[in-house]
Symmetry: C2
Subunit: 135 residues, 2 copies
Amino acid sequence: MQKKAIVNKLRSSGLRPTKQRVLIARNLFERDKTFHFTVETLNKEINKKGSDKVSLATVYNTVEAFTKAGHIKQILTSKSKSYFDTNIKSHHHFYDEDSKELTDINYNQVKLSKVPHPPKGKKIKNLEVVIRLQK
Amino acid sequence: MQKKAIVNKLRSSGLRPTKQRVLIARNLFERDKTFHFTVETLNKEINKKGSDKVSLATVYNTVEAFTKAGHIKQILTSKSKSYFDTNIKSHHHFYDEDSKELTDINYNQVKLSKVPHPPKGKKIKNLEVVIRLQK
DNA sequence: TTTATAGTTTAGAATTATTATAAACTAGAT
DNA sequence: ATCTAGTTTATAATAATTCTAAACTATAAA
Ligand SMILES: [Mn+2]
Ligand SMILES: [Mn+2]
Ligand SMILES: [Zn+2]
Ligand SMILES: [Zn+2]
């Protein structure tokens, strides 16, 4: 994804392409592979080396804005820190209880042959599987 | 579950049946139905009305001890607060994005016809499905 | 182009959830 | 009854996140 595309992505979701947002978006989306992150890891990544500094408040604001816009998504965990994913396609996760690491499971690696009906008046938005691993 | 059984449950997991632990355990397990809670809701429930007071620190300690002992389990959410479940059987959840409520899905309401192999040297400890609902 | 303004960034304070500390207390063994 | 490791508690500390309000800026309008 090139800078032009990044700017369009931001504009298309009603977000002004500010210096900070473009910097963060390039860091998140100009990669070969999707990945998982926390605000803490993203903030470190963004603010390392000689690059222009972005405040922690802005990292929080931007992550929230990108989540609301659907550019990233929040991941289910049982931890006190929020995890996010640049892979917004429907997919599943392994959670390694020993290393505490989350890794993607390809969507077609899991098949469901029976899914419950949603309660009246509600629709299924998505379905996520988490497989916990142990030694 | 009667008081005697509660005391045994605590003893069997190496926990002394103190006044506070028994009070909390009775509140959690002497019910017809399992339920979901946070430390905050449990603390309110335990410390309301004329009952003996239990400190918040003890509620945290006890929830941690009960989780380690396998009497309750922590639930996957994408929130900053930890949720717990008195239903320790393998089961799944609906998560209502509008009301932000978690409800149980019976285990046999979900069937998986394909599950990925765990990475080398790891075993599958359990598998949880979360179905997000929207209006 | 300037100008106006709504949107954005920021440092720092505030809040919230959780964990740590260390002194007082107690269950249960002897 | 005495002893002691385990437990409880008030309170402090830490960690994650949200709030605040002043300074700044992207961009639309003049
Ligand atoms: Mn915390
Ligand atoms: Mn928080
Ligand atoms: Zn993922
Ligand atoms: Zn449940």
